[in-house]
């Protein structure tokens, strides 16, 4: 049993119709009881909720402040490789793209880590293209212990793995797995993923189940906003989140809301998600789920990121590079996508403090959950 079975019973066309036929009265009812209520989630994501966005923002900000305080967790992505065995028409790492390919060796990894540590980070997101043979379990098992020695929180955003593989990585210190479905609309998914294992929509969709069963502390969900109707994709992500929370009550969850960005050989977004829409999504998910971590990457522009801070965000990256080895040797030819906020960590923190937020570098100690630990 996985979300795949549950997903098969969701009637997409009915949801789409319901989304676009919501009325103001539906939204007002949704605002009375939004938490954990899928019907409310639908109404708040609908176009009919747009006149209520200020009210939603006020409530979202207050709920976030109460649950998370003034804390914003800071993390940084570390790109291990840009090798990829998939063809995805929106991604700079696609296998047919003519760009220099690189897999960090141990020395290069150590150099990247040293730079990231010198900037104060204690939470790291390891990212790679999806290439099972050259950047697969053997490689992950080699590098994870090296990274874990230096960081108290270790997340990964790599190709979907088997449950047994996740178990092995948890033993080596893996805390979180980000696995973005990109789009929950199978036909659109098929159109954008034209080669490689990533074409298997159902295998990807069942990945969070495998991650949760393996005992990973936190699972990150996400859709790539711009591939298809963002309201419907967000709603289906909400269904996914709801299913996972009900089945894996010990697991924590986060979402990421990446808007499609320009990249080498990449497509233009089919659907443009406005800043207003992004705010609507953030506030809706906060009202739906008070304990959810919501991440904001450097894909967004500095002024927008600063303004989004109070609305529900709990985690941010700052000073990111989206290329393997990029902290040591910046080289835009290797990028996965262009970033929009290129401020230094210090600049981001200064702005954060000016707005009354507390940047948190250390908020976890996975040493507690190492299975080999003796009582």
């Amino acid at each position: 049993m996985s979300f795949v079975d549950h997903f098969a019973r969701i009637e997409r066309d009915k949801l789409l119709l319901a989304l676009y036929s919501c009325t103001a009265a539906d939204v007002e009812r949704a605002l009375v009881q939004p938490e954990g209520n899928l019907q409310s989630l639908l109404a708040l994501l609908s176009p009919a909720a747009e006149p209520y966005i200020e009210e939603m923002a006020q409530r979202s900000a207050a709920l976030t402040r109460q649950r998370f305080g003034a804390n914003i967790g800071l993390y940084l992505p570390l790109y291990l490789s840009n090798l990829c065995a998939n063809e995805c028409d929106y991604c700079g790492f696609s296998m047919s793209n003519k760009l220099k390919r690189k897999v960090l060796n141990e020395q290069e990894l150590a150099a990247e880590i040293a730079i990231i540590k010198s900037r104060g980070f204690d939470s790291i997101l390891l990212v790679s293209g999806e290439h099972e043979t050259k950047v697969g379990m053997d490689y992950f098992q080699r590098v994870l212990p090296l990274v874990k020695q230096q960081f108290s929180y270790l997340a990964m955003e790599v190709q979907p793995l088997e449950e047994s593989h996740y178990r092995k990585l948890v033993e080596q210190g893996l805390d979180a797995v980000m696995v973005y479905q990109e789009t929950y609309q199978a036909e659109t998914y098929a159109k954008h993923h034209t080669r490689g294992k990533k074409q298997d929509f159902a295998y990807r969709l069942a990945t969070p189940d495998r991650v949760a069963r393996a005992g990973v502390d936190k699972i990150g969900l996400g859709v790539l906003l711009g591939l298809d109707d963002w309201r419907l994709d967000a709603l289906m992500m909400g269904y996914h989140l709801d299913y996972l929370e009900r089945h894996y009550w010990r697991t924590r969850f986060s979402i990421s809301l990446p808007r499609l960005r320009p990249c080498t050989g990449g497509i233009a977004p089919k659907v443009h998600l406005t800043d207003l829409g992004l705010v609507q999504m953030i506030c809706t998910f906060r009202l739906f789920n008070q304990q959810l971590d919501i991440s904001l990457s450097t894909r967004e522009a500095p002024s927008l990121r600063d303004n989004l801070l109070p609305l529900g965000i709990t985690q941010m990256s700052a000073g990111s590079s989206t290329q393997p080895g990029g902290y040591q040797v910046p080289d835009s030819q290797l990028d996965q996508f262009e970033i929009s906020d290129d401020r230094t960590v210090e600049q981001v923190i200064t702005q954060m403090r000016l707005k009354g937020f507390n940047p948190v570098f250390k908020d976890w100690e996975s040493a507690w959950i190492v299975p080999k630990m003796r009582v």
Binding site: Q66, G69, D122, E245, R353, K362, A367
Partner: protein, 254 residues
């Protein structure tokens, strides 16, 4: 004066360190509250360097630290966190928190009792965060806990004393201090808990998330003092009907 494990506290308001917008504001609020026991989450402390933006100002303020095991999801993790706290902070005191459920952060009674027993045997001063369960509290006392910390309502919710009937039972039966922890959202909640006879309250979210944390800390300080004084003065009995000022049987006294 409140005594926990042989240590005397003038203040019956315990405070937390999370959710403030800066360490400076946290320190000023704690100072205003006059709190002498402050919880600090072990998961926030940098184990590799020992340096931390929370610890230094707290040590300078001269308050007693109560490290907590927040983040632990079972007894094993909590025990390890307690051992880390003892080693790093040089204190035997530990606020035992085990909540495997990230949604409501409900404490796990089974794991908490297991961990409490082991930690007490190892010489820790254990203050467990628990649901307002009178039987569990007695069992925690039996294994040697220095205090019990039942919740008023779920962590951070500001709902107040939702568990009041059970809190009353716990207070009535307690042989160790009862500290009402979690859910106290207003000074009036704190005052009410103290009027019921709680030995102390622990407040974090209501102060840290306030628009003016220092002012709110002052309010809680006063509310806790007032509530305690009222308890000690002896509150009148609550009745549903009026009591005649000229009793019908007054003549029997004449």
């Amino acid at each position: 004066m409140l005594t926990v494990a042989g240590v005397e506290f003038e203040s019956r308001l315990f405070t937390g360190t999370g959710k403030f917008s800066s360490s400076q504001l946290m320190l000023e609020a704690i100072n205003a509250s006059k709190s002498q026991l402050v919880t600090v989450s072990m998961k926030r402390i940098d184990l590799k360097t020992g340096a931390d933006d929370l610890l230094t100002p707290l040590r300078q303020a001269g308050v007693r630290l109560l490290p907590n095991t927040s983040g632990a999801r079972n007894a094993k993790e909590a025990i390890f966190a307690a051992e880390l706290a003892r080693e790093m902070l040089g204190t035997q005191w530990i606020k035992l928190e085990i909540h495997p459920d990230p949604k409501y952060l409900m404490p796990d009674a089974v794991e908490t009792l297991t961990a409490a027993q082991i930690l007490c045997e190892r010489g820790f001063i254990v203050m467990p965060y628990v649901h307002a369960d009178p039987v569990l509290c007695r069992r925690l006392e039996d294994v040697g806990c220095a205090a019990v910390m039942p919740l008023a309502s779920p962590i951070g919710t500001n709902q107040g004393l939702v568990t009041e009937p059970f809190i009353k039972m716990i207070i009535e039966q307690a042989r160790v201090p009862v500290v009402i922890d979690a859910g106290i959202g207003a000074p009036s909640h704190a005052a009410h808990a103290m009027e019921l006879g709680a030995d102390a309250v622990l407040v974090n979210t209501a102060i840290a998330s306030s628009a003016s944390p220092i002012e709110m800390a002052l309010c809680f300080r006063d509310a806790v003092n007032c509530g305690r004084r009222a308890f000690e003065a002896g509150l009148g009995r609550v009745q549903t009907q009026a009591v005649h000022t000229s009793p019908l049987t007054g003549f029997l006294q004449q």
